[in-house]
């Protein structure tokens, strides 16, 4: 067993943890912004798939991973328009709309993929790496952490920037107010509709970006139902993280660890049933729910459409 734990193996293991964590991180950050504004989007599984498929098609067409990521974000925004119009503007039930978005996203992407790529399956290849001078030469950790693509670093900066903006800026305060007590925001002269609309669109873009990362960098291809429940895990992680994006980052890494450890245990010689391997990430999320459920706090106005003057 010990001869299996080579530097190359540990490097790949760490890189796998990161690759699995990043799509979840982006999706959970998007969901966090939505939830902080009072919008519970159960449709992020579908939004991720739309983002993933759009990114896949754009990258195949243009050959550019960067344009693919942009396409994924736009796809996510477009998919979330249903939540914007039907919930924020028209006040329909968030849960029903969210589930509908999931089902529609799964269906549309599967149909389009099967229609367009059945006869000529396509793969994207690897995104060029951006080694950070000095750091990328550190044994084991260097190649795993500091030889990532530029997209990885942009996504990390985006998450950190949003963490700051949500906690320390007027926009963040308005967004949180829209989820905590929208009538106060309204009374203070802010627009609940505009704040929630921006949050939903931004949320869609980030969730789409998560799907794009999954298709372009984690998997390097698209297949129907690629997300495999990742969107729902993002919702759980968002609720457990209480709006703190740094906690979202840590829990996403724990998820990545859970995904990566199953095959790793098998390779180094443990006979682990396949059911356990597949179950492990979900099991860990359930354990986290049990342990931290009491401390999870959601915005009081979460899931409640805002109607001016309503009691």
């Amino acid at each position: 067993m010990s001869d299996m734990l080579s530097a190359a193996f540990i490097t790949v293991f760490i890189a796998t943890v990161i690759a699995q964590a990043m799509p979840l991180l982006l999706a959970a950050v998007g969901e966090t912004i939505g939830e902080q504004a009072g919008i519970l989007n159960l449709g992020i599984e579908g939004v991720m798939l739309v983002g993933a498929y759009t990114a896949f098609v754009v990258t195949l067409t243009t050959g550019s991973f960067w344009l693919g990521m942009l396409g994924g974000a736009i796809g996510g925004v477009v998919a979330n328009l249903a939540m914007l119009v039907l919930n924020v503007w028209l006040g329909l039930n968030q849960i029903v709309i969210g589930l509908a978005i999931t089902l529609i996203g799964e269906g549309i992407t599967s149909v389009l993929y099967l229609q367009n790529y059945t006869k000529s399956p396509a793969s994207l290849g690897a995104q060029p790496k951006l080694p950070i001078p000095g750091l990328s030469d550190i044994p084991v950790i260097g190649p795993a952490l500091f030889q990532q693509s530029g997209i990885f670093w942009i996504c990390i900066l985006l998450a950190l920037g949003l963490a700051f903006a949500l906690a320390r800026t007027n926009w963040g305060l308005s967004t949180r107010s829209a989820g905590q007590k929208p009538s106060s925001l309204d009374a203070a002269g802010g627009s609940v509709m505009r704040t929630r609309s921006i949050a939903v669109l931004l949320s869609g873009g980030l969730v789409g970006l998560g799907g794009a990362y999954l298709a372009l960098l984690t998997t390097a291809t698209f297949s129907p139902f690629l997300t495999n429940g990742l969107g729902f895990i993002a919702i759980v992680i968002t609720m457990l993280s209480r709006g703190r994006i740094l906690v979202v980052m840590i829990t996403s890494l724990i998820y990545g660890l859970a995904v990566a450890i199953g095959p790793a245990l098998q390779v180094i010689g443990f006979t682990v049933p396949a059911d356990i391997i597949k179950m492990l990430p979900f099991l860990i999320v359930i354990v986290m729910l049990i342990v931290f459920a009491r401390s999870s706090v959601v915005p009081p106005a979460l899931g409640t459409p805002y109607t001016r003057g309503a009691r």
Binding site: Q20, V111, G125, T218, S223, N228, K278
Partner: protein
């Protein structure tokens, strides 16, 4: 924006939105229905079991030919059998696993006089459909005790034989003395191929290490999981990887593409189009169902369908290694010798039926 949220305007807008969404959904459903109906266009006569001469048959598969594997092999074989016999075939791909009895009934109603239910997960539904519609159905991976004269017979791949040949090729190609197995599901055929593969490797060199990993119990289409598992097995030193998976194969191929100095052995289908560098493909354990389908259709014509199981094995050419430039004359000679051993019965690879049994074969090191 605020004005729309209150009063009559809001109610009207809500109704309009609901009507629009409902209309769009109805239109989509109608489009989907017409798409499926298009597959049933030829022929309306429902055949009966017995001595019907088959002029059109159908194959129902859970996925489509883009999996480079099981589904591709079934669809290719059905098209080949139709061409060989000069009859019509209707392919119904992407049928999934839900409500399969309904799908089979619809295919029978559409005029198919013989149906290939191309997944072992279809066997129960196929038995019911065959009894209800009186249409002979070829099921997968079942024992002879499940045959029903005139209604049900099974095609039975002998995966351990193909796996053994692949193991010989892998052992003669590896330089790191480590080879890997990646499975996307707990599948009887893949366990059998895995045990055969390990024994084939050890028949050449018992000192070679065989690494094993599984993506999940039913992760057939999990490309992301397949990529992760393959990357880790390569990182642990394996320079020949034998991958078994349907849609998960996309993930295996991405990992192989991104690696250097690693050869890939595919299963069942031809994965060459999925690799940016085809020289990374050592070979593929190809499954050819065509002889089984042709014989089954002839047996339907003769009224003897359901009395025998149709093997897909090395002896009848149903299982063989794909020729590539990476298969050197030395490797081909060793594979040919092993093939003759399987045919004459001097080599009988173990048929593992679980991951634990595969692990036991690997631990035994060919002893």
């Amino acid at each position: 924006m605020n004005r729309i949220t209150s009063g009559t305007s809001r109610r009207t807008a809500t109704r309009l939105a609901v009507l629009t969404v409902s209309g769009a959904l109805a239109f989509s459903l109608a489009a989907c229905s017409s798409g499926r109906g298009g597959d049933d266009s030829s022929g309306t006569e429902t055949s009966s079991a017995g001595t019907t001469e088959v002029t059109q048959f159908a194959l129902v598969a859970p996925e489509n030919e883009s999996d480079f594997g099981y589904n591709q092999a079934g669809i290719d074989a059905a098209n080949g059998a139709a061409e060989e016999l000069g009859i019509d075939v209707t392919i119904v791909p992407d049928a999934g696993y839900d409500n399969i009895e309904t799908v089979l009934n619809q295919v029978a109603d559409g005029g198919a006089q013989f149906i290939v239910a191309h997944a072992s997960g279809y066997n129960v539904g196929a038995a019911s459909a065959a009894a209800a519609k009186k249409v002979p159905i070829l099921i997968q991976d079942a024992g002879a005790d499940e045959n029903v004269p005139g209604q049900i017979a099974a095609a039975k791949p002998e995966g351990q034989e193909g796996g053994y040949l692949a193991g010989v090729a892998a052992a003669m190609s590896t330089t790191s003395k480590k080879v890997g197995l990646v499975l996307s599901a707990d599948n009887a055929n893949w366990f059998a191929m895995s045990s055969g593969f390990a024994e084939g490797v050890f028949s050449v060199d018992p000192s070679i290490q065989v690494l094993y990993t599984s993506v999940g119990p039913a992760a057939y289409a999990d490309a992301a999981g397949g990529k992760t598992a393959t990357e880790q097995i390569i990182a642990s030193g394996a320079d020949v990887v034998f991958g078994m998976g349907d849609g998960a194969t996309h993930g295996y191929l991405q990992a192989i593409d991104a690696s250097s100095g690693v050869k890939y052995i595919a299963d069942i289908g031809d994965v060459t189009p999925g690799l940016s560098d085809p020289s990374k493909l050592l070979t593929s354990v190809r499954w050819n169902y065509e002889p089984a389908y042709v014989q089954a259709i002839k047996d339907v014509d003769a009224g003897t369908f359901g009395t025998v199981t149709y093997p897909v094995d090395v002896e009848n050419g149903g299982m063989y290694l794909q020729e590539t430039d990476q298969m050197t004359p030395e490797i081909e000679a060793a594979v040919e010798k092993a093939k003759q051993g399987i045919i004459d019965g001097s080599i009988v690879p173990t048929i593992a039926t679980s991951a634990a049994e595969v692990a036991a074969v690997i631990a035994a090191k060919g002893a």
